[in-house]
Each structure stands twice: as C-alpha cells, then as structure tokens.
Symmetry: C2
Subunit: 225 residues, 2 copies
Amino acid sequence: MRTDFHRQLDLLNADLTAMCDLAATAIRRATDALLHTDLGAAEHALAGIEQLRRLNLNVDRRTLSLLARQAPVAGDLRAVVSAVQIGADADRMGGLAAHVAAAVRRRHPAPVLPTQIAPRFAEMGRIAASLADAAREVVLDGDPVAAARIRADDADMDAQHRLLLAALSTPAWCHGTPAAVDIVLLARFYERFADHAAEIGRRVIFRSTGANTADTQATPADTLP
Amino acid sequence: MRTDFHRQLDLLNADLTAMCDLAATAIRRATDALLHTDLGAAEHALAGIEQLRRLNLNVDRRTLSLLARQAPVAGDLRAVVSAVQIGADADRMGGLAAHVAAAVRRRHPAPVLPTQIAPRFAEMGRIAASLADAAREVVLDGDPVAAARIRADDADMDAQHRLLLAALSTPAWCHGTPAAVDIVLLARFYERFADHAAEIGRRVIFRSTGANTADTQATPADTLP
C-alpha cells in the first residue's frame, strides 16, 4: 500500500516537473518571438500551453484520487496538497507566457517593442526562464535551500520591472503611449511569471519542512514605478 | 465523527466567506481612495488585508488538519481541497485591492487618475465589488447556477478593461505616458480581481457538482487592446 502510494506520488511529481519544464520552454519561445517578431515562435509557444493545461487537470485528478484512496498524513499529506498549488502556479506561468506570445501574434508583422527597450526584455526573459528551470529542479529534488534561492532571484526580476516602468515614465520616452501600454502589460506578465516561480519555491519549502514562510507577493509599494 | 467533520467544514467555509467579504470591502475602499484621492480610505483598505492573510493561513491549516484526521471522500473531499484554492483566490483578490490602495498612497496628494478616466474606474470598482459579493454568496450556499453567473459577469469587466486600454491607445489621450503607465497597471489589477472571483465560481461548481469546467483565464487574444 505504502509502496503504491509513493509510486503515485512520484507520478504526480513527474507531472509537476514536466509542467515547470513546459513553462520554461513557453517563456523562452515567447521571448524569442517578442525579440525577433517571430510569428512561428509565438505559435510554437502557444501550442505548448495546451499540454500544460492538460497536465494540470491531471495533477488535480491524481491528487483527489490519492487523498481519497490513501489518506496520507504528515509529510506525505503536505506533498499531495502542495501538488495542487504547484500545479496551479506552473499552469499560470504558462498562461502568462501565452499572453506574451499572443501579443506578438496580435501586432505581427509590426514589432511590439521599440529597439531601445528590447535588451531589458531579453534580460527579463532570461531571468524568467532561469527561475522556471530552478522551480523544476526544486520540485524534483525538494531542496529547501535552493527553493529559498528562487525567491532571492525573483528580486532581480522586480528590479528589472521597476527600471522598465521608470524608463517609460521619463520625458526621454519617445515612443508614445500606445507602445507603452503594450510594454507595461508585457512587463507585468514577466514579473508575475517570476512571482509564481518564487511561489513554487515557497510550496517546496513547505512540502519539505512544514514551514509556511512569509508570502512572496510583491509588496504593494513595489508595484508602481 | 461525521458530525464533527461537518462542523469543521462549516468553520472552514465561514473563513472562506469572511475572506470574500474582506476582499469586497478592500476593493470598495481602494476604489473610494482612488476616485477621491483619499489617503484614509487607502490606509483603511491596506489594514484589512492583514486579516485576509491570517484567515488564509488559517484555511490552509484547517484543511490539512481535516484531511489528516478525517480522511474525507467524494463531495466532502472536494469541499476540503476546493477550500485551499478558494482561499488562495480570495487572498490574491485582497492583494490586488492592496495594490490599488498602495498606488493612491504613493501618489498622494496628487490624484492617480485624470478626471476623464475616473468614471471607467468607478464602474470597474463597482463590478469588482459586486463579483466579490457574488463569490461570497456562492461559497456560502454552493449554488452552481449563481456560480456560473459570476463568470458571465466577469465578461463585463473584460469589456471595461479593453475599452480603457483602447482609450489610452488613441491619439485623443492627452495625459501623457506616465499617467498611462499607472492606469494600465491599475486596470490590470481590477481585471485580475474579477478573474479570481470567477475562478471562485468555478471552484464552487466543482465542489457542488464534481464538474471541472473550462478554465476562466482571460484568453490571450483579450489581453492587449
């Protein structure tokens, strides 16, 4: 019985790992699409999201089935309950990557970004993908120290986000308000993507140690430039 | 044993109902603060969020305890697992209301909104609070028909959001890019607040019927103006 339970838990965790992997791939493709006005990369990013959605439904089903049939307790129970939340975070990361890709598709063949601002998005895309990779690793190995590091790296994204909004709010901004509207939303998608990766880190700490660390939502003061 | 379980479930649901109530109050106060550049209302909105946070931690604790000690199945199990997700949605609604209030505090004594755009935010605030009220009702009574209606009402918010972004993106916009940056983010907070209320509706449908309805995330195409 216990052996069967742990095999089921491994399958659940394999789904979660795959979901983080798909989220990382989606944000890489979406960022490529954004930087190179590449419609193919945008479509590619959007196509991967369906699989993420299906895996998340799978995670929800597996979780209910495990709870109903095995009635786990303590660390095993935390692992099962955390799976629902980690799945939801990874699913949302995919949704945010899809928003980026959809923006590229919508504006194509025009680029969404003025050249001047592209390097900042290249950096935000790099951080986002690296955070999703890190989330995948800690979901796999449960290392609470590495999980805590994700939250620290999320601060890099917050800094990039603030710098970007500040750049849009200076008189030097010469690309007009419509371009800024797109950019504010896109930047917000990257920033939230990183928040969800950090949230997965927090869930893994809880799963591994039982400690419910302070929440990782951006403090309100950080939100506007 | 069963009686004790259902008493515990009632307490859990009372916490969730209180959380939706706090989210509704927070977005009402934050919208008042925004429309009247009212620092007191902003501080008031922010103060209510702490209680929401504490209730959410309480929900997580109660849920784990119920699962560990009572090992519920079928509809009872769905009710307990849904509680974690509904709590997370209501908590996030509070976080988004806090973002609005924090924006008012940050810009005070200057208003965040140009007068021209204020009526749109008054309407978005009204819809958001009414969706949180509706979420509270369906959490309380579990009515799947009313829960489905929340999702329909969320479409009104999406429409308002699109109109607002479109208004910022026309040559008629005369308040400059910095004001637009604030407005894009604020509008996004209201739109996401409504999404989470709709998500609570979806969870209640699942809790009441076992049906996992299609997800309520904004379709990517809806995101940019």
